[in-house]
């Protein structure tokens, strides 16, 4: 690498498929922050890039899988977790990370989410929550706040949103955290922690959508939304997930769950060993 390259090349370039750049994300979108936090976590942990698989579903953040320079798969809408379940169980040596959006993971893919968390499948789920379906032009989804304006709630949203961290905790996730894209360092630390922990991890990343949702709802420019995040974010580690509902005045962030529970893969391997030993004994008799 010559001096010029060193000056112009992004420090995370080796983790990206540079030929796929430029990415499709809008200016001010939070997806870039999410992705760079993830890549920095990989860098700091010196993760073996041949042994990690990134899986995504459909939506703006769904393109992340195509940008990272590791084995990756872009599934059908909502099915990233179910696909990742197959990958992880079929090859437990792989680190499997799902990066997807709120609509993909919690509307069309909601069933897969709760069951993978219940089974404690050893996968890491990072969710970009921008409160709407951005790629299709801003329709309401399972996290859209009550009364918000979207192209399919022209009179205001009358559906109550999910509190994702509460849902994840209740479903059985062993690690649950929420940050906004303003909390870059803490987000990266949470990703690192989840990558080192066995079991189903869930990290919600509150993300601006300045082109669509924030514009429709008069939240201002990307910078203004980030300033707003700073104003209303409240770090409360270990807080009861049931009480972390996002409101117009407060986003409670932090690490809410960090518990130990044997993963599905571990229980499967232990069962297999038991069964096979018994079969051997029977044969020896």
């Amino acid at each position: 690498m010559n001096q010029g390259d060193r000056m112009t090349q992004h420090p995370l370039a080796k983790y990206l498929r540079s030929e796929r750049m430029p990415h499709i994300w809008c200016e001010g979108c939070g997806n870039g922050v999410l992705l760079s936090s993830f890549l920095t976590a990989l860098d700091e942990l010196k993760v073996d890039l041949d042994k990690i698989v990134v899986v995504s579903g459909i939506g703006c953040i769904g393109r992340a899988a195509g940008y990272v320079n590791v084995d990756s798969f872009h599934t059908t809408h909502g099915r990233a977790i179910a696909f990742a379940t197959g990958v992880k169980l079929a090859n437990p040596d792989l680190q499997v990370v799902v990066i997807s959006g709120d609509g993909d993971l919690f509307a069309i893919g909601g069933n897969h989410f709760i069951h993978a968390a219940r089974r404690n499948i050893d996968i890491k789920v990072i969710c970009a929550n921008n409160f709407n379906y951005g790629m299709t032009g801003g329709q309401y989804g399972p996290t859209t706040p009550l009364e918000a304006w979207t192209t399919t709630t022209p009179y205001g949203n009358i559906e109550h949103p999910f509190n994702l961290v509460h849902l994840a905790a209740a479903s059985g996730a062993v690690y649950v955290a929420r940050w906004t894209t303003l909390h870059v360092r803490r987000l990266k630390d949470s990703i690192k922690k989840s990558l080192q922990k066995e079991g189903f991890s869930f990290i919600e990343v509150i993300s601006p959508c300045p082109t669509i949702f924030d514009r429709y709802n008069k939240r201002g420019t990307a910078v203004e939304v980030m300033k707003w995040f700073r104003l209303i974010s409240n770090v409360k580690h270990g807080y009861d997930p049931a009480r972390t509902e996002i409101t117009n005045n407060q986003i409670i962030v932090g690490e809410f769950v960090d518990v130990e529970r044997p993963s599905y893969g571990r229980l499967l391997r232990e069962m297999t060993k038991r069964v096979q030993e018994k079969l051997k004994e029977e044969k020896a008799k």
Binding site: G66, F73, T75, A82, T85, G86, H112
Partner: protein
């Protein structure tokens, strides 16, 4: 030492259980499924047997997730399958498209029951044969085999895995409730007598690997996750590198044509049929699966009664053996197609037969065709 994976010997098994044994013998080590009548016994057997041989059984939350997990397992290099029936098969259509697009080798067993909707869960049908070919959106080709005995539930399940690995395509075993639930003698050969085909591996180093660059047979060698190829696969239209090409006319044309042509152009290699007394036949019965059993009996009886009858039994129903059927149609005066539906594969037969009259003998509900009904249909067709 006797292999735990291949239960060599003579057994008395149901079709569902024979299918599970065929899968294990073929090297299947991942099963993702959801209970459904009349395919549940396959799941039950797999949940016990896969653990014995060190494989993975997982009961997913639905059939959408089942097939997604199977695709994931396939991408790690495992031979993987699922088994279902009509309602579950409908849910799988979405990810059948994904498996086609990402060229994931895998096997889907459909023990067909009466539809539409919940229909008749414990009753047989052949109502999903068109859905097997056309159920997911977009242009694509798959391979589907139709067993007509419990022995074939074992043998053809192995063939399904071999075809899936050869062509990187989802392969379907389309059986029905009768074949799935009836018990017959099954001979399981010793492992060394079972042909096992594995997917082609890349011969180039990771930096030169193009995951969707085909060989001359139109099938790309397949690297697997964790092997260092660091490649991307997507359900979006993509180029040879796997990069999304969502607005390119050229890439869309190239990819869709290749996905179809790798099957179409190899039809002659894939297709298997059984021909019985067709040489001098005046009337042919074309049948597959459960209906072919009565058809065979009908043809033999008809011969005794002086009717020059013959049988073309399709073992492969997709890709449809159009040329073979056309050739047969040239030599007979009529074709009778008994099906346990209200007329599905008969449309393909009509298309292939051109001017030769084709008559459908439809059956819906519990009873399979009786040989006497097929003989009557043959007489009528010859009038």
């Amino acid at each position: 030492m006797k292999s735990r994976a291949v239960l060599t010997g003579t057994h008395f098994l149901s079709g569902d259980l024979a299918c599970a044994e065929g899968a294990i013998a073929a090297g299947c080590r991942f099963f993702g499924g959801y209970p459904i009548t009349p395919a549940t016994e396959i799941s039950e057997r797999m949940s016990r047997r896969l653990v014995e041989v060190g494989g993975v059984y997982i009961q997913m939350e639905d059939e959408i997730g089942s097939l997604a997990a199977v695709i994931g397992a396939s991408y790690t290099g495992k031979k993987a399958m699922t088994a279902t029936s009509g309602p579950g098969f409908s849910l799988m259509q979405e990810n059948i498209g994904l498996a086609v697009m990402t060229e994931a080798p895998l096997v889907i067993v459909n023990i067909m029951r009466g539809g539409p909707s919940t229909g008749q869960p414990t009753m047989p049908s052949q109502q999903d044969v068109m859905q097997a070919k056309w159920g997911s959106h977009g242009d694509y080709e798959i391979i589907a085999l139709a067993p007509s005995s419990v022995q074939e539930m074992f043998d053809l399940t192995i063939d399904c895995f071999n075809l899936a690995e050869s062509y990187r395509v989802p392969v379907m075993l389309l059986a029905d409730e009768i074949i799935g639930h009836m018990s017959e003698r099954v001979k399981i050969p010793p492992p060394e007598e079972i042909t096992i085909i594995d997917r082609k591996k890349p011969k180039v180093p990771p930096n030169e690997y193009r995951p969707f660059k085909p060989d001359d047979d139109l099938v790309p060698p397949m690297g697997c996750f964790g092997e260092g190829y660091r490649f991307h696969a997507t359900g979006l239209t993509h180029d040879e590198k796997g990069a999304p090409k969502t607005v390119s006319v050229e890439e869309q044309t190239k990819l869709v044509r290749r996905l179809c042509d790798k099957i179409r152009k190899n039809t002659h290699k894939i297709v298997r049929v059984q021909e019985v007394m067709l040489e001098d036949a005046e009337v042919a019965v074309l049948a597959y699966g459960i209906a072919s059993r009565a058809a065979l009996s009908a043809v033999r009886k008809a011969r005794k009664e002086g009717i020059k009858a013959g049988l073309l039994r399709l073992i492969t129903i997709w890709p449809f053996p159009t040329e073979l059927v056309a050739k047969m149609a040239d030599h007979v005066t009529a074709i009778v197609v008994p099906e346990m539906n209200y007329g599905q594969l008969v449309r393909e037969v009509e298309r292939a037969a051109k001017t030769t009259p084709v008559s459908l003998l439809s059956k819906l509900g519990e009873e399979p065709h009786r040989p006497s009904e097929i003989i009557t249909a043959m007489r009528r067709a010859l009038q």
